[in-house]
C-alpha cells in the first residue's frame, strides 16, 4: 500500500498552504466567525478562481481538476490547519460527492461546473449526521417529488444557492435539487459550538423539487466515506497545528525558573500525543490512498475518522491545558481550534459510531487486514 506523496502532490500542498497562510490568518478567522456570512467572498473567489481548489476532486469533464481523494485530502488538511472559513466543505466536498455518486449525468454536467468554479454554492442536506444508516429517517419525498421534513444541522445552508437533499422515497433514498429560495423552505441559522463553520436548521414544508438521482446503500456509504476522508484530513491538519504551537509554547513559557517544556510531565504528554498524531495521520493518509485506488481495508475511512476525532480532541485539550489560564482565554487562539475539534468530533459520526462501523465491515469481510504483525 503506497503511502507516499508524489512530488507533484507535495508542490500542490505548498501552493494551498501558501494561499491559506496569507488568506486565513487567525485575524481573518476571528473576523469571519463573528460575521453572519462566515466567509470572505473575495477570498472564496480567489480560492475557486485563481487557485481552483473548489474543483479539486471534480472530474475535468465537469470543470474540475480531476484530482482524487488524495489531493482533496491535501487541500482539506491545509484548510484544517489554517481553520479556513468558507463553503468549501459544504459545497465541493459534501454536495460535490453526493452529486458525483448519485446524480444523473445531465445534472452533473449542469451543476458540477458551477460548484467547481465557485459560481454557485451548494450544500448537502442530510437529516442525520450521525450514521449513514439513519439517513432518510426524517426527510421524505413523495412520488411527485415534494419534499417534507427538517434537517436540524446543515452546513452553510445560509449562503447556499442550491440544496442537494437526500430524502427517502418509496424506492430508497432519492436525491433532490432545490433552489435555496424556493417556496416552503425555511433556513434558520443556528448558533454553532464552532462558529467557524456556520450551520442552519433547514425545514421543508412540502417543497416541490427536482429528482436528480439517488443513493443506494453502497453509494451512500461511499459518499459518507469520501466526506469522512476529507473531514479526517481537515482534522489532522488542525491537530497538527495545535500540537506544534503547543510544543513551541512550552519551550518559551517559563515557570519555576525554567521553561515549562522541561518538565517531564509535559514532555511525556507531548511525546504520547506525537505518537497518537503520527498514527492518526498515517491512517488518514492511508484512507485517501484506499479511496483513490479502491483497494485496502474497506474500513479505512471510518478508522481515519475515529482516530482523527480522538486525536484532535486530545491535541485540543493539551493545547488549552499546557497553556494554563492563558489557554482558556478568548484572546488566545487555541479555543478556535478547540471548538472545531469538538464540533468535528461528532460531525459525520462520532469515533464510537465509526468504531462500530469498522467492526461491521470486518465481520462482513473477516479476511481483511486487521493490523496484526506480519
Amino acid at each position: 500500500m503506497q503511502i507516499e506523496y508524489t512530488e507533484d502532490q507535495e508542490q500542490f500542498r505548498e501552493v494551498v498552504s501558501r494561499f491559506l497562510q496569507a488568506k486565513s490568518t487567525p485575524i481573518d478567522v476571528r473576523r469571519l466567525m463573528a460575521s453572519n456570512e462566515g466567509y470572505d467572498q473575495a477570498v472564496w473567489q480567489q480560492l475557486c478562481g485563481e487557485v481552483g481548489l473548489a474543483g479539486t476532486h471534480i472530474p475535468e469533464e465537469y470543470g474540475g481538476f480531476g484530482f482524487g481523494p488524495i489531493e482533496l485530502g491535501i487541500v482539506s488538511e491545509e484548510m484544517g490547519r489554517h481553520l479556513y472559513c468558507g463553503p468549501f466543505f459544504a459545497s465541493s466536498v459534501m454536495a460535490g460527492y453526493a452529486l458525483l455518486n448519485g446524480a444523473t449525468e445531465a445534472i452533473k454536467s449542469a451543476i458540477l461546473p458551477d460548484i467547481a468554479s465557485g459560481d454557485r454554492i451548494a450544500t448537502l442536506v442530510l437529516d442525520n449526521l450521525n450514521n449513514p444508516e439513519k439517513v432518510g429517517s426524517v426527510l421524505k419525498a413523495n412520488d411527485e417529488h415534494v419534499v417534507s421534513g427538517t434537517a436540524p444541522i446543515v452546513v452553510d445552508a445560509h449562503i447556499a444557492d442550491l440544496l442537494i437533499v437526500a430524502a427517502s422515497t418509496s424506492d430508497g433514498l432519492g436525491l433532490y435539487l432545490v433552489n435555496a429560495d424556493a417556496d416552503g423552505i425555511s433556513i434558520k441559522p443556528e448558533e454553532a459550538l464552532d462558529p467557524t463553520r456556520k450551520i442552519s436548521r433547514v425545514s421543508f414544508d412540502g417543497v416541490s423539487s427536482e429528482r436528480i438521482g439517488g443513493l443506494n446503500e453502497e453509494s451512500l456509504n461511499l459518499t459518507w466515506d469520501q466526506i469522512c476522508n476529507a473531514l479526517a484530513h481537515e482534522m489532522i491538519g488542525g491537530a497538527q497545528h495545535l500540537f506544534e504551537s503547543t510544543v513551541e509554547y512550552t519551550k518559551v513559557r517559563v515557570q519555576f525558573g525554567r521553561p515549562i517544556g522541561s518538565f517531564q510531565a509535559l514532555k511525556h504528554r507531548c511525546a504520547d500525543l506525537l505518537m497518537e498524531l503520527e498514527f492518526a495521520k498515517a491512517a488518514t493518509h492511508h484512507a485517501a490512498f484506499c479511496l483513490a485506488t479502491s483497494e485496502g481495508e474497506p474500513f479505512a475511512a471510518s478508522m481515519a475518522k475515529a482516530m482523527a476525532s480522538d486525536t484532535y480532541m486530545e491535541a485540543a485539550r493539551a493545547g488549552v491545558q499546557l497553556r494554563g489560564g492563558i489557554g482558556f482565554t478568548w484572546e488566545e487562539d487555541t479555543h478556535l481550534w478547540y471548538k472545531r475539534a469538538k464540533s468535528s468530533e461528532v460531525f459525520m459520526g462520532s469515533a464510537h459510531m465509526h468504531r462500530e462501523r469498522m467492526m461491521k465491515m470486518i465481520e462482513i469481510a473477516p479476511s481483511h487486514n486487521t493490523g496484526e504483525q506480519p
Binding site: 442525520n128 449526521l129 450521525n130 436540524p152 444541522i153 443556528e190 448558533e191 454553532a192 459550538l193 464552532d194 450551520i199 513559557r253 517559563v254 515557570q255 519555576f256 525558573g257 525554567r258 515549562i260 518538565f263 510531565a265 509535559l266 485539550r317 488549552v320 491545558q321 494554563g324 489560564g325 492563558i326 489557554g327 482558556f328 482565554t329 478568548w330 484572546e331 488566545e332 487555541t334 479555543h335 478547540y338 471548538k339 469538538k342 464540533s343 468530533e345 461528532v346 460531525f347 459525520m348 462520532s350 464510537h352 459510531m353 462500530e356
Partner: protein, 415 residues
C-alpha cells in the same frame, strides 16, 4: 453545646429577631451582635467557636425559617478566613465585620500573567515610600475584581531574597485611582475574571498582613481554603421558605452580582446531573458502549464523593493519616468533568455541534463542552495538584529547583 441546645437557642433568637422587613445591613448587624453571623468563628472574633457539625445546625435552622445569613458568596470568604488566621487584632476588627454584613466585597490578587502555576514567582512590586506601600504590577484571574472594595494581594517586597521569602501579603483598597480592573473574556464567552492593573497604587503601612516577607506562608493558607472549595463544589444553597419582603430584594441583588462569575461553574464541573436524563431522552442509554461510559462516570463521581466523606470523617476523628482531600478532590473534579464531557458528547452526537438557547438543555450542554477545560487549570492545574500529592502526601523526592537564589536572578517570562 449539643445540636438540640443549639437548635433551641438559634430558633428562639430568630423567632425574637428575624423579620424580612429590615434592611439587609441592619439585619446583618444584628446577626453580628447576636453572634450568629459566623458561628464557626472564635468567640473572641464575632463567632461562637462552633465546629462544622454545630455550625451546620445553625445553617439548617436559618434555612428552615428563611432567615438571611451573613454574606457568603465570592472571594470575600477567602479573604475573611485568611484574615481570621493571620490578621492583626486591628485588621480583624476593621475588615471582618463589613465582610459579614456584605458591605465590602473582596477579590483575590495572586496570579500574574508571568506567574500562574508558579504563584510564588509574583513580580508585582511593593515599595515602602514615606510610610506607605506603593504597588506596581499586573494581576490576572481576579474574580469579581471590578465589583470589589478590597483585595488580598501578594506582592514582592524584596528582590534580593529567594523567591518565597521576598513576598508580602497586603489588604488593598480597590477603590483608588491607581487600581484598574478590566474584564477578561474566556473561551466560553463568559467574562467572569478580571485583569487588574496597579500603577502607583497605595496601601497604608498597617495593611501589610502578617509581617513583611511572610506573604507566601499566608498565601498558602488562602490557597488551601480555595482548594477545599473546589473539591466540595460550590453551588449556592437555597432557602427552603418562600422569600417575600424587602430584605430579599436586596439579597437578590447582592447574590446576582456575587454569583454572576459563577453561572458557568456547574458547566465547568461537567453537569453530571444532566447525564441520565439526557441519555434517556435521546435513547442513547440503549447503547451498551454509552452505558459503559456513563457507569464509569458514576464510579468516578461516587468514588470522589465517598473518598471526600471518608477523609472528612477521618479528619474529624483526628486520625493521623494524611489524606490530601483538597488536591485529590480537585484532581478528581478534573477527571470527572472530562469524563462527563465525553459522555455528553457521546449522548448528543451531531447535536453537540449546536449551541445557544435552541440547543440541548438551553445551551447548557454546549457550554459544558467548552467550559470543562477550565476545571483542570483554575485554582492550581492538575499538574500542580499531582506535584502536591506526590511530594506532600506520598513523600516522593522533590526535583532539583531552578529557582533558588535571589529572585532578581531567576529566569522568568518577559512580560
Amino acid at each position: 453545646m449539643n445540636p438540640d441546645e443549639i437548635r433551641k437557642e438559634v430558633s428562639e433568637w430568630l423567632d425574637a429577631n428575624w423579620t424580612p422587613d429590615r434592611s439587609l445591613i441592619e439585619w446583618r448587624n444584628m446577626l453580628l451582635e447576636g453572634g450568629w453571623a459566623a458561628p464557626d468563628w472564635p468567640e473572641d472574633c464575632f463567632g461562637r467557636g462552633f465546629n462544622a457539625e454545630q455550625a451546620a445546625v445553625v445553617n439548617e435552622v436559618f434555612a428552615e425559617k428563611g432567615a438571611v445569613s451573613a454574606a457568603q458568596v465570592g472571594p470575600r470568604r477567602l479573604a475573611a478566613e485568611t484574615i481570621l488566621v493571620h490578621g492583626s487584632e486591628d485588621q480583624k476588627k476593621r475588615y471582618l465585620p463589613p465582610i459579614l454584613t456584605g458591605e465590602h466585597a473582596w477579590c483575590q490578587l495572586f496570579s500574574e500573567p508571568g506567574s500562574g502555576s508558579d504563584l510564588a514567582g509574583a513580580s508585582t512590586r511593593a515599595e515602602l515610600v514615606d510610610g506607605q506601600w506603593i504597588i506596581n504590577g499586573q494581576k490576572v484571574w481576579n474574580t469579581s475584581a471590578h465589583h470589589a472594595d478590597y483585595g488580598i494581594l501578594v506582592a514582592r517586597t524584596d528582590w534580593d531574597l529567594p523567591k518565597h521569602q521576598g513576598l508580602s501579603y497586603f489588604l488593598i483598597n480597590m477603590r483608588q485611582p491607581g487600581v484598574e480592573a478590566r474584564p477578561l473574556r474566556q473561551m466560553n464567552g463568559h467574562a467572569s475574571f478580571n485583569e487588574v492593573f496597579m500603577t502607583d497604587a497605595v496601601i497604608p503601612a498597617e495593611d501589610l498582613m502578617g509581617g513583611e516577607g511572610n506573604g507566601w506562608a499566608i498565601a498558602t493558607t488562602t490557597l488551601s481554603i480555595e482548594r477545599q472549595g473546589f473539591a466540595r463544589g460550590r453551588t449556592p444553597t437555597a432557602s427552603r421558605k418562600p422569600t417575600e419582603g424587602p430584605i430579599y430584594q436586596e439579597l437578590a441583588t447582592e447574590l446576582e452580582i456575587a454569583n454572576e462569575p459563577y453561572t458557568w461553574y456547574p458547566q465547568r464541573e461537567g453537569r453530571i446531573d444532566l447525564v441520565l436524563p439526557r441519555a434517556k431522552e435521546t435513547g442513547a442509554i440503549e447503547d451498551p458502549a454509552v452505558r459503559q461510559e456513563i457507569a464509569r462516570l458514576m464510579c468516578l463521581s461516587n468514588g470522589a464523593r465517598l473518598a471526600a466523606a471518608s477523609a472528612a470523617a477521618q479528619r474529624k476523628s483526628g486520625s493521623n493519616e494524611v489524606i490530601p482531600a483538597g488536591s485529590i478532590g480537585k484532581l478528581g473534579a478534573s477527571v470527572i468533568a472530562r469524563q462527563a464531557a465525553h459522555v455528553h458528547t457521546m449522548i448528543s452526537g451531531a447535536d453537540a455541534m449546536l449551541s445557544g438557547p435552541d440547543s440541548a438543555e438551553e445551551g447548557m450542554i454546549a457550554e459544558t463542552l467548552i467550559s470543562v477545560p477550565a476545571i483542570s487549570i483554575a485554582g492550581g492545574t492538575d499538574e500542580i495538584q499531582r506535584n502536591i500529592i506526590s511530594e506532600r502526601v506520598l513523600g516522593m523526592p522533590k526535583e532539583q529547583r531552578s529557582d533558588t537564589g535571589p529572585f532578581r536572578d531567576i529566569k522568568r517570562n518577559v512580560t
